[in-house]
Each structure stands twice: as C-alpha cells, then as structure tokens.
Symmetry: C2
Subunit: 215 residues, 2 copies
C-alpha cells in the first residue's frame, strides 16, 4: 500500500512514518521538500541502523497526496483548514484523520469545531474524499519509541465501508495495533475526545505516552 | 466505608452492589423499598452461594443517602434531575457520578447537557456536594459476571482533592479496578463520551461488555 503522510515532519507524522514504512511504501510530505528529505533521511538511518526495512521518500505535501492510495493528515487541528486549502486531488482518496482538537486550560479539554469533530470538519472541506478516523489516541513518543512495548487499540470510524476496511487493514498491518470498527464518522468526537483525557491521565499520574486498549 | 447506591435496583447499580459489598458496607437504595429488599436478597444469595462476604441492606433512596459516606448515583441520565429533586441531604456528601448521557441514532452518540457532562449538571444541581466522576466505562454485564475476568481502568475526575482521593481509594479497593486521576470535573465529558464509543465497538465487533485500560 502506498501511504502518504501530509505533515510528515511533525512529531506524530515522523513517528508514524517510522513504523508504517517498515510494512508499506511511505511518501512523507511536508510544506518544504527539504524538511521532508531530512526527515526521510533520519528515518532511513534509524531503521537501517536497526537492520529494519525502510521505504520512505521525502516530498512536498502535494506529491504525497498525488502518489498515495491512502493519505494520513498528520497535522495539528489549527492547520487543517489552511493545509487542505493548499492541496488538490484529495477528492476520491481515502483520507485518514488522526487529528484531535484540544486546548490546555485548567486541564486538557476537547474543543471540537461546530461540525462535531476534526474528522467531520475535514469531510465537509473535502466532500468527495472518503474520510476515516484512525490513529487518534497514540502519542508521538509511543510511535517513535521503537524499542518500547507498543500495544494499542485503534478505533476506526468512517461512512464509506470499503475505505474503512482499507484503513482497518492498514492498522492491523502495523505490529502492535488492533483496529476496532467504531461505526460511522459521526462517532469521531468520542474517539478524538480520548486524546485530551489521556494527556490529563499522563499529567496527573506522572506517566508518559499513555495509550488505550479496548477489551 | 459505607457506600450508598441510589438506583441500586437498576442493572448497573445491582452489578456494582455485587462487587462493592464484598469489600464495603453497601446501602442499596431504590424508589421502592420492596424492590431494594428484593435486590438485596438476590445479592446475598448470589454472593453467599459462592462463599463470598456480603453486607448489603435494601432501603429507600433517601436512606441510602442519609446513611452513606459516599453516594453513587446509579441512575440513567434522563432520571438525574427528577431523582435529585426528590432527595435531601446530598450537600456536603461525596457524590459519585457514573452517569453517561447518550442516545442511539445512526450509532450510539454522546449527548451531553449544556453544562458539558452529566457530572457537571449534577454539580450544578447539588452545589454543596463534592461530585466526582467514576465507574463510567464499566458495563453492567461486566459488573455482574463475577466468574469472568474483570480488569478495568477507572478515570476519576473531581474538583475537591479530598473527595477525589476517597473515590480513588474506593475504586482501588475493588479487585480488578485501577483508578486514574483524570483531573478536574471539567474533564468529565471526555470520560462519559467513552461509553457510547464502547457500545459502538461492541456492536460493530459483535463483542460484549467492552471495557478500557490505560497504559
């Protein structure tokens, strides 16, 4: 599967690339091609240094969209509108949103847009795309810590059954991750809201990179 | 600890009573004393049949409030306002809300009141009470299945530090449960929203009584 990561030089994007590129071809995008190439080089060094496979290439965000079968939007919520306005060709694509709108006030709080969730806003901005929610509740540090235990449940929401199956397949292809069909895209607020909760739990327990498992 | 359960004859309340009464004195309340006595008798039979301790007494909801140090509101969201209006003496008490406002539409959705969560509504209705969120994400069937594995993380929110410590102590005294301080009461929406998500995951995966663990 050719997986494009828009915002691949961010903390989450780079962590995702490290794990996904061991299994799939990853096209890592950034606003600046040079940054994408540097991130790609770092990933190659890290993975090849461990004797692990790596098939990342660093490109601009638009090329990551154009070449990918599945596009992951690894961008902070506040950059969603601007980034999507700068890209073309997302209509018809399978678009994965791991985006969580949150703010730090007296604690980390879920601060969704009027659409209900980041995923629903993205679907509104990209009416032709097949938007799925996935990977929302895995911390950047957890993606990156290749030598630490990695065992997470991943809730997947979406309104297009074939796209959801594809995304569930992507999730289950990554060692340590188990996909759970959580229903239509309207369930995304409940998935995204877990992330600020995990940040609070980490903070008040002095834990790092807290994740969630369903059983 | 004397634990009062308001709505103790409901599915969740009876399940809670079965596990909590092995460790603490449980005062199981209902609108009708007879129903409370029947539920109490059933719990005694179940637990004593297994050679387990049981210290439940069945009373009316008001007596459960009056005699308890900690009051658990094991009532559906739509009965919160009516039930609280019918009770006195909750001011100053530690009140635990396991209540989750949800509705079944195209999927199970989180449907909070304008206050943000059931717990925040309860705090508004009971300004003198020390309201904490806890036990929100454990299914009735899981509470009741005494012979099945029982291992859950329990997010605890609250604005009164001493009350929160008491509730965390109550949680950790129940075998299989691990409390996690999730911060102030304002975090409750993120805890309550997990329950409709778990119901969706159970439905779409054909699982039963799905729970969560943080790690």
């Amino acid at each position: 599967m050719r997986v494009g990561i828009v915002g691949g030089t961010g903390d989450i994007g780079e962590g995702m690339a490290l794990r996904i590129s061991q299994v799939h071809e990853v096209i890592l995008g950034s606003r600046e091609v040079e940054k994408a190439c540097t991130a790609s080089d770092t990933c190659h060094l890290t993975l090849e240094g461990k004797g692990l496979p790596c098939t990342i290439s660093g490109v601009c965000n638009q090329e990551a969209v154009d070449r990918a079968e599945v596009v992951i939007l690894a961008i902070p919520f506040q950059h969603v509108q601007g980034t999507l306005a700068s890209l073309t060709g997302l209509g018809g694509k399978v678009v994965v949103s791991p985006v969580n709108p949150l703010a730090r006030k007296e604690a980390f709080l879920f601060t969704p847009p009027p659409e209900g969730s980041a995923a629903q806003l993205i679907q509104k901005l990209l009416p032709g795309a097949k938007v799925c929610t996935a990977f929302n509740n895995i911390a950047a540090g957890s993606w990156k810590a290749l030598d630490a235990p990695f065992a997470h449940s991943v809730a997947v929401c979406g309104d297009d059954p074939a796209a959801k199956e594809l995304v569930k397949g992507l999730v289950s292809s990554i060692p340590g991750l188990t996909p759970f069909d959580a229903g239509p895209l309207a369930v995304s607020p409940m998935v995204e809201a877990i992330t600020p909760l995990l940040l609070n739990i980490a903070r008040f327990q002095k834990m790092r990179d807290v994740g969630i498992r369903f059983s």
